[in-house]
Symmetry: C2
Subunit: 250 residues, 2 copies
């Protein structure tokens, strides 16, 4: 897993792609997948920290994250950074590119990543011609809005402890959906700075909060592995369960 190893997995063909159920632009039938493969311009592997997209740039390509982690973010005048969301395998950059050729945020790789590359216009036409895909796209857009509302509520109303618990739990649940989580833990490339920038906290404070959560037996940290030691308590702390993520992830 070190930097120089060819660690990033690369998809062979769309038909056997394990992520097929996650991505929006195929109905999931093998025939569809075959047609889809023709639209794919290729695969691109980028190192950790690479800028995948810069806010405002003209985008002629559409990317799906096949392997690795990335994040969407905005910079404001004095250099402060807000991380809008973390992107996991199967996520796209971004549905909005089906309608617009510019985005109002940037995207950076957290780990080495491999991306499936499509020609934006061609894929957009492909989807527009298929009502099933269009409606799937709409569904994902609605989910994205709902997720944004949830995060807004986190930042506006919840304490640092609640936010950190919420983020860890959400990442775990999303990874679990993708079969990328273990029994009660997952490997995360996030630095405390990333967690802070996502939650509106300083990395120093994130360190203290994680310490507290460890002390209270809610989580464990082993190198890059995050262990959820007390999921019920984490759910309670993060306010998930009142109305769960269950709905958010159809």
């Amino acid at each position: 897993m070190s930097k120089d190893s060819a660690s990033a997995r690369v998809p062979s063909d769309c038909k056997s792609c394990a992520l097929r159920p996650m991505v929006f632009y195929t109905t999931g039938t093998p025939e569809e997948a075959a047609g889809l493969a023709k639209l794919r311009r290729g695969v691109r592997v980028l190192p950790a920290r690479a800028t995948i997209y810069r806010e405002g740039d003209l985008a002629t390509e559409f990317h799906t994250l096949f392997d690795g982690w990335a994040f969407r973010y905005k910079l404001i005048a004095d250099g402060r950074r807000q991380i809008l969301s973390f992107l996991l395998p199967g996520d796209s950059i971004s549905y909005q590119l089906m309608r617009s050729d510019r985005l109002r945020f940037s995207v950076q790789a957290l780990t080495e990543v491999s991306l499936c590359v499509f020609e934006r216009e061609a894929l957009s036409r492909h989807v527009a011609e298929r009502p099933v895909l269009t409606s799937r796209l709409d569904h994902l857009a609605a989910q994205e809005i709902a997720a944004a509302d949830d995060r807004l509520t986190d930042l506006g109303q919840r304490s640092a402890h609640e936010r950190v618990a919420s983020l860890i739990l959400q990442l775990y649940l999303r990874l679990q959906q993708r079969n990328l989580a273990d029994e009660d833990s997952f490997v995360s490339p996030l630095r405390q700075q990333h967690i802070g920038d996502a939650l509106g906290l300083t990395s120093v404070h994130v360190s203290r909060v994680l310490k507290d959560l460890r002390a209270e037996g809610l989580i464990g940290v082993d190198h890059e592995r995050l262990i959820l030691r007390d999921q019920p308590m984490l759910r309670k702390l993060s306010g998930i369960g009142d109305r769960g993520l269950d709905e958010q992830f159809h």
Copy 2:
């Protein structure tokens, strides 16, 4: 303007509706508007503070806010409230109802409101059959995500003063688009509690921040009227202008 007066305006017919350019479900041609009018089930007037929609309820109707203000919000377990956005004349509740029959937030009237009521399924079909409208809907959904990202950045990275300036400026710009703002001021039904719940602040602190902004000559407050006394400075404070709302509002 008192409680008992019949203050809420009510639309006569869709053809002459001044809001036509704002709403998504018509192309704007008079013929379209005539057909659209047939889908309209009627008009409903509700008093201030009325609950227009409650999180999770089954929605058979789709509403467009014709007159008055409302807001979208979420409640969390211990009673804290996050206001997700303010709804102004021409806004819908909500695009998401074109795809789903339940929403994950509630909506409440801030003033007396009048709503155009549509049958959800019928309108959804109407829109689905017209590619122009579908793409318009997508565009609005994308705008909504972009707006959510902006607000996330506000809550995560900006100080109380910056957030309040940002909210005031954004409301002003949105009202201006609808010809509901005066030269450099607008009338707002917001209580400081609403501003606080939208920005993740207490109403007490909002009061202090507004006092500071008044003292610095950035804004003026006269009864329910908010006056933008120094727009350039407000823009600078709120970080709008680095990349403006210009784009956000096509």
